[in-house]
């Protein structure tokens, strides 16, 4: 009789599985607009619903509230405020991060939504809900039309 419990399932006879799933995720009409404007001109666009007035950031081509088609793009600038934040000390493989990452949900002035991103140029103990921040973009040549064209948001 064993006196020790098996804690690692890999010690049992097993078949190692690997699920390969390579994708491309096409951005669609609203995503193309958002990411190409961000890449080419450092501008952030939202979409406004003509019926209810709700302004979607990130933009979409439909309103989730009244199911209206959205056709009006609004430049919402690059500034917002920290609606909530967290400091991550642990990586996706559960190992400890060398440097903690500050994530925030940034609500934009002039839009009902915002962006989830990282904060930079700030110590985590100095971050506060309500703190005004602005997007810091990568240099034009390094932008690739994805969300990481914004390096992070920094306090204004």
């Amino acid at each position: 009789m064993s006196t020790e419990k098996i804690k690692d399932a890999r010690r049992m006879v097993h078949w190692p599985g690997h699920m390969e799933t390579d994708y491309i995720y096409t951005l669609g009409i609203a995503g193309e607009k958002f990411f190409t404007e961000m890449k080419n001109s450092g501008r952030i666009f939202a979409a406004k619903c003509k019926r209810c007035g709700f302004i979607y950031l990130p933009p979409r081509i439909y309103c989730e509230r009244c199911f209206e088609k959205l056709t009006e793009w609004i430049n919402v600038g690059t500034k917002g405020e920290v609606f909530t934040y967290t400091v991550a000390y642990v990586d996706v493989d559960s190992s400890k991060l060398k440097e903690p990452t500050i994530y925030a949900y940034i609500k934009f002035d002039g839009a009902h939504g915002g962006l989830i991103h990282k904060l930079g140029e700030v110590k985590h103990e100095d971050v506060q809900i309500g703190m005004p921040v602005e997007a810091v973009f990568k240099p034009l040549a390094e932008r690739k039309a994805n969300i990481n064209d914004i390096k992070y948001f920094k306090p204004v």
Binding site: I6, K7, D8, A9, R11, M12, G17, M19, Y23, Y25, L27, G31, Y56, L57, P58, R60, E64, F83, T84, Y85, T86, V87, A88, Y89, V90, D91, V92, D93, S94, K96, T101, Y103, A104, Y105, H112, G113, G114, L115, I116, H117, K118, H124, I129, N146, I147, N148
Partner: protein, 384 residues
């Protein structure tokens, strides 16, 4: 209209690992126990339909529903899979019986996260691939974002949340099905490593393997199958927007909407007075408080005071998570919500042993689909 009762429950118990059984054997054990509990029915002829609650990626299959029938006794029978949450599975079974076409329906859910070598990568794959996933990191940072806003808006504190972890781990010591029973104190929670501020390690449920099957029956046959049928008085479910950037973060809107749907069916107008006890999702400690407030079990901003005063303790006026919750029983993927339902049935039957509550007639079970979702279910049950 037909009333629906739970007439059988079967549970394997939950453990941090289960290397001795395959996922199919885990489900077979839970099903065998449930069918025995439901008057020893034979699933090959006595069960009219089967529902499994599962998610392909958790299971490592592209078509997991195809791999469900044999271990449940459902080959050549009516079966479908609900990808979502156990209480949504319960809602589907409830509706099947209410159509009048089915008398007995089984619902299965399980989790075997110890088979998943990259658990949190799979959670990451549930996030928006374009706006969120490229930021990288452990996806539970979303819970940190939500907890911070919830505390900010409601005035509940990190200490209140830590009390949830202490209470539920302690309750789990009295539950033989629970994987993570422990006697810890507030200091242990505060000294556990910071993971996603304001969440510490002990504020976060740990993965556990296990399975639960329940058997439901119409009022025409329920009493023949079990001496103590537990009646489903109302079921609800709801999804908030999938877009993280459109959510309100501080409130659990899905819990509010799913509870109101269940209350309407159960004709409950004042839940804090009419419900005797509740099992509430607590995958993260703050979730117990947030869900209580969303479901009107207390006022907004009041949940922290209730736990501090012992109201939600096992001897309090409104016991919450006598089972130990997810913090005490373990995060069992799709079976997490079914754990909540199982405890409500056990308590209403009077079978909860040393954690049994006195004189309980109406209980509530609530589930959340977990990070990064905003989907959940609520069920109101009674023993009379």
């Amino acid at each position: 209209m037909t009333d629906v009762a739970i007439v059988g429950v079967g549970c394997t118990g939950f453990k941090s690992v289960s290397p001795e059984v395959s996922y199919k054997e885990l489900m077979f054990e839970a099903a065998t126990r449930a069918y025995q509990d439901a008057g020893n029915i034979n699933p090959r002829k006595d069960i009219d339909a089967f529902i499994s609650v599962a998610e392909d990626y958790w299971e490592g299959f592209s078509i997991f529903d195809e791999f469900v029938p044999d271990q449940l006794g459902a080959v050549l029978r009516q079966l479908f899979t609900v990808s979502g949450d156990s209480i949504i599975g319960l809602g589907n079974a409830h509706m099947l019986i209410k159509t009048g076409h089915f008398d007995v329906v089984a619902v299965e859910s399980h989790g075997k996260p110890s088979d998943i070598l990259t658990l949190y990568d799979i959670v990451s794959f549930a996030m928006d691939p374009v706006f969120n996933r490229p930021l990288g990191g452990h996806p539970f940072y979303l819970a940190g974002l939500e907890m911070n806003r919830f505390l900010f808006e409601t005035g509940n504190t990190k200490e209140d949340c830590a009390m949830v972890a202490v209470k539920n781990r302690d309750n789990a010591l009295r539950n033989p099905y629970a994987a993570y029973g422990a006697r810890i104190d507030l200091n242990d929670v505060f000294c556990s490593s910071p993971h996603f501020y304001p969440l510490n390690k002990f504020d976060i449920s740990q993965p556990a393997d296990g399975g639960i099957v329940i058997v439901l029956a119409s009022d025409e046959v329920a009493s023949d199958l079990n001496d103590c049928p537990i009646w489903i008085r109302g079921v609800g479910w709801a999804s908030e927007t999938p877009s993280l950037e459109s959510r309100c973060f501080g409130e659990a809107v899905y819990a509010q909407l799913s509870a109101e749907m269940a209350y309407k069916e159960a004709k409950i107008t004042s839940p804090s007075r009419e419900i005797d006890f509740a099992e509430v999702d607590d995958l993260f400690s703050y979730k117990e408080l947030q869900h209580m407030e969303a479901m009107r079990l207390c006022e907004v901003g009041e949940a922290g005071r209730l736990i501090a005063e012992g109201v939600t303790g096992i001897d309090g006026d409104l016991p919450i998570n006598t089972s130990g919750g997810n913090l005490g029983m373990g995060w069992a993927l799709e079976a997490s919500g079914m754990q909540r339902l199982l405890e409500v049935v056990i308590q209403l039957r009077g079978d909860a042993g040393e954690r049994q509550l006195a004189d309980v007639e109406v209980g509530l079970a609530q589930s959340w689909r977990g990070i990064p979702t905003a989907t959940g279910g609520t069920a109101v049950l009674s023993n009379c």
